[in-house]
């Protein structure tokens, strides 16, 4: 359904509109299933549904915000500096990491002040997010794609949403796995990686749907 909707929307709008960017990032270019980024927290957290939803939401929020901040940093600070011969590509990696880490810290403080309930629900996941490579990945890809700040925001929100969809899907499958008979050697991460591979194959079928 969503795919068809995305497809029609993509066709309706001439060229790349924001919705197409979003759905491309979330579905056809799913950061977890086509690039295998953010695997460590994916493998460990997807064993619990509640935690997966919490982490998924946190990733969406942090990816979207840092995407916009980093795109702004890139276009308004690093690109003007290229005049002096400093290649933007050599600085983006280190700066993006620092921005993500600082943003997560800041976010943690704000959430703790505003809503203690949300803080405790997310509290364990927020520090985990700092080292989630899917976020850094999304931030770097949007630069590769030459997206503007607002497009970058939409793209990274989509990438985060795609990551969240993948981990929630996997958590759903792993609930079923609890009652399945799995060879002892494949229990835990083993079978999860295999399923992840099959899901990735399914998502390959969607590639090219949205250009």
């Amino acid at each position: 359904m969503i795919l068809m909707l995305a497809d029609t929307l993509a066709k309706e709008a001439a060229g790349q509109n924001l919705l197409a960017i979003f759905f491309a990032a979330a579905i056809t270019d799913n950061i977890l299933l086509t690039r295998f980024l953010g695997m460590c927290s994916f493998l460990s957290i997807s064993s619990q549904m509640r935690a997966s939803i919490g982490l998924g939401l946190a990733v969406i929020f942090v990816t979207a915000c840092t995407g916009a901040i980093n795109a702004a940093l890139y276009w308004f600070v690093l690109i003007p500096l290229e005049r002096y011969g400093v290649p933007a590509s050599s600085l983006q990696l280190i700066l993006f990491i620092v921005v993500i880490a600082a943003f997560v810290q800041l976010l943690e403080m704000v959430i703790e002040r505003v809503s203690l309930g949300l803080y405790f629900a997310l509290g364990v996941f927020l520090p985990l997010i700092t080292v989630n490579c899917a976020i850094l990945g999304a931030n770097l890809f949007l630069i590769n794609k030459n997206l503007t700040v607002f497009e970058g925001f939409v793209y990274s929100a989509g990438a985060g949403a795609g990551w969240a969809v993948a981990i929630i899907l996997m958590a759903g499958i792993r609930i079923r796995l609890k009652t399945a008979r799995i060879p002892a050697a494949l229990e835990g991460p083993g079978i999860t990686l295999i399923i992840c591979g099959i899901m990735a194959l399914a998502f390959i079928g969607l590639s090219g749907l949205i250009k």
């Binding site: 940093l73 600070v77 690093l78 500096l81 002096y84 011969g85 400093v86 050599s90 600085l91 280190i94 700066l95 620092v98 921005v99 600082a102 810290q105 800041l106 403080m109 704000v110 703790e112 002040r113 203690l116 309930g117 405790f120 509290g123 364990v124």
Partner: protein, 369 residues
């Protein structure tokens, strides 16, 4: 020249962005994470503290001179710093959840190092904790008791004297060294309470242990150390029942304090002290205790080896300490049991004592964790 310019600009950009972020975080800490001044009411008005909010309860109380025992130094792993929070504690944090049983939750107990002071609070602590102080002491003597047990004799400097009862423990602070952060570890006091200006500790090397490694490899005579205490309910009861003492390794400490306390105060209460070790090289203070045995007609000392080596020429008791106790006690119905040592030893010894007819509420122990 151009390369140098590029390197300088790149460095400046990275430093600049980092500085901006740092300033932002500092501002956030100043304004967002600022909880203002909060009052903490302890034991319904017994003490009221005016503190700066925003820090964990354990550390805040410590700064105000109220010491809650904690082994891990506030990392939320040992679960020993439980405090009754009557009001203002907020919801239970996920880091506390695994350390609290349902019973403890209904009793309003919280892990004080994981509860932040965010508003006015009302808490309850055992009143004896008010007498807990932070002490500075200088290491007067370090003696090797065995190959892996040392005796530490400390002279108190500030405050110069400590009040405690035989059997209580203190917490020694291991300062940060190598890659370790500061930690507090509990050690029973081995010296008798009459000697108010000195403390003796018996410390066994735990392989990989942060505090014991520090004591064994870094601490030397003349060093100044920090400690706080006294803590603990392990003490002689007020009855005159015959006593069975069982200890292993550094579990010697509280009994070494108790027997000298009893001698000094002429408490002639019948008492048999079973001390378990593996080989002769693991025994210590044997001559001193044998001497006391000769002087005091109410005191019997029974050292036992579980695996004496051939060269030990051991003619005393052999076997696990529980087996030795089993052989020596006929009827325990009017006795009290005091145990100090590792968890496994204590669990096994408690079983033996119960079998011998010692009532459960007459068995007291201090378990090493």
């Amino acid at each position: 020249m151009r390369e140098l310019q590029i390197v300088l600009i790149a460095t400046a950009v990275v430093c600049g962005v980092c500085t901006v972020l740092t300033v932002l975080l500092l501002l956030a800490e100043r304004f967002i994470a600022n909880y203002g001044r909060c009052t903490i009411d302890i034991n319904q008005g017994a003490r009221r503290l005016e503190v700066r909010g925003g820090s964990p309860l354990l550390g805040t109380l410590m700064e105000e001179g109220v010491f809650i025992p904690s082994a891990c130094g506030g990392k939320g792993s040992c679960g020993e710093c439980k405090v009754k929070v009557l009001a203002g504690g907020g919801p239970i944090a996920p880091t506390e959840a695994p350390l609290l049983s349902d019973q403890q939750r209904t009793a309003n107990l919280r892990i004080s190092c994981q509860v932040k002071v965010r508003n006015d609070m009302a808490i309850e602590v055992p009143p004896e904790l008010f007498s807990v102080r932070e002490y500075q002491a200088v290491v007067e003597r370090i003696v090797d008791l065995t190959h892996d047990i040392k005796e530490l004799r400390l002279k108190l400097i500030e405050p110069g004297e400590i009040e405690f009862t035989a059997g209580q423990y203190i917490q020694l602070k291991a300062p940060p060294y190598a890659h370790n952060e500061a930690v507090y570890r509990a050690y029973s006091v081995a010296s008798p309470p009459d000697e108010k200006d000195h403390l003796e500790l018996i410390i066994r090397l735990v392989p990989g242990g942060i505090c014991t490694t520090w004591v064994f490899e870094h601490l030397t005579e003349g060093h100044t150390v920090s400690l706080n205490g006294p803590y603990g309910k392990f003490r002689l009861s007020d009855s005159d029942r015959e006593m069975v003492w069982i200890a292993g390794g550094s579990g010697m400490a509280p009994f070494w304090s108790m027997v000298r306390f009893m001698k000094a105060h002429n408490i002639a209460r019948k008492c048999t002290y079973f001390f378990g070790a593996v080989r002769k090289r693991d025994l210590f203070l044997v001559d001193e205790l044998r001497q006391l045995e000769r002087e005091l007609d109410w005191f019997t000392f029974v050292p036992a080896l579980s695996g004496p080596a051939a060269e030990d020429n051991w003619s005393g008791e052999t076997g696990l300490i529980t087996e030795v106790v089993d052989r020596h006690i006929a009827d325990g119905s009017n006795m009290e049991g005091y145990l100090c040592g590792s968890g496994g030893m204590i669990d096994a010894a408690v079983k033996v004592l119960l079998k011998k007819g010692i009532a459960e509420d007459c068995i007291f122990y201090d378990k090493f964790t």
